[in-house]
Symmetry: C2
Subunit: 198 residues, 2 copies
DNA sequence: GTCTATAGCTGGATAGAC
DNA sequence: GTCTATCCAGCTATAGAC
């Protein structure tokens, strides 16, 4: 599953529109992602947006779904590695989709469809992470694990997103300490990170 | 905790416009916060927006600044209490301004002025928090503090914002565990929370 | 200070030719 | 599938009366 696709493979106009929308959304915010601008960036006509997606809202939902699906695959792969926690930490920590995610959340402020889509997706991720982390902690052996699965999952998610977001604003005060705190826990459970050889 | 809301004290048209903008921004997103809609919600004419603030961008910056100032005062008070960490935790945890904050961040995606305003404000908060938490940990006595000041400040900030944000999407899986983890640390340093009597 | 009026633009969405 | 043409709504911002 999930053949290692290099990602932005253009498979026709719908994909081209989604790619264009993704770029504009991340770089300039949802207010800039109009049908005309998206179509122009894709080298297509604005009417095609409505032909393929119906409404702009539907396009945004489709875009979110596509990205969410990709990330979910990546996390599944990460959690299947021999150092699941470290892999998960890296998977959620380096993702460049933070600006995008924030736009979607902002969009959800007044678009019902977007809102429920985000909720559904987040719960899916949470469940995947919780199952995997619970298993890791269970297998952790005799020593009592330093944290509960729920706490660890939320610690990693919260800190990761917060730091990535702040870094986009050129803020990094205390970041090293926070990363060290999380990674100390990972070391205590899984030992030192063995090179990802990526 | 949430003592009586700061209460929209109407002090003339500018404040009324800011109040209206704040409400619309939080409830419907920045795309809905147009000069017309803001003015209408304030019972005023749209031209007044430009008379008082120059541009919509300037209004957004002014709004952010006002809220930021209020929060800063509240945090200063919190950190001056006899249980600074607990008070800080409550101060950042219950603030209802999360949706608003997200809109500002989204706005900053394509408005330079907003961006630098957020950075400046965040650094100010961070420094205040770091100073206070450093002092608390220094005075903590003989036992080595369980965490570094930077890690603790970022832990509290990250988890708090993340949980509040998720709760707005009706997601709460693992939240109890995460809260317990943070509060265990607070207990280790400051002891049990003594009622805030709010 | 507050209003009306308006210029000038951009948006979502549809109809219909090809 | 893709395009042009178009309707209509809403926006920022300004000019100017009161």
């Amino acid at each position: 599953m999930s053949s290692g696709r290099p990602v932005p493979v253009d498979e026709g106009s719908p994909a081209a529109l989604l790619d264009a929308a993704e770029k504009i959304l991340a770089e300039e915010g949802y207010a800039a992602a109009s049908s005309r601008r998206v179509a122009a960036a894709a080298g297509l006509n604005a009417a095609l947006v409505y032909y393929y997606f119906g409404t702009m809202d539907d396009l945004f939902v489709a875009l979110f779904r596509r990205g969410s699906e990709r990330s979910f695959q990546l996390q599944q792969e990460a959690l299947a590695s021999d150092q699941p926690l470290w892999s998960l930490w890296e998977a959620i920590h380096d993702r460049s989709s933070t600006a995008l995610t924030l736009e979607f959340i902002a969009l959800a402020n007044h678009r019902k469809a977007m809102r429920s889509e985000i909720t559904r997706s987040a719960l899916r991720f949470r469940r995947l992470q919780l199952d995997a982390v619970t298993e890791v902690l269970d297998r952790h052996g005799q020593q009592p694990p330093p944290v509960s699965p729920g706490a660890l999952v939320l610690l990693m998610s919260s800190v990761s997103r917060f730091l990535v977001m702040e870094r986009e604003f050129d803020i990094a005060v205390g970041h090293e300490d926070a990363v060290a705190m999380v990674e100390d826990i990972l070391v205590a459970i899984e030992g030192e990170r063995r090179s990802t050889a990526a």
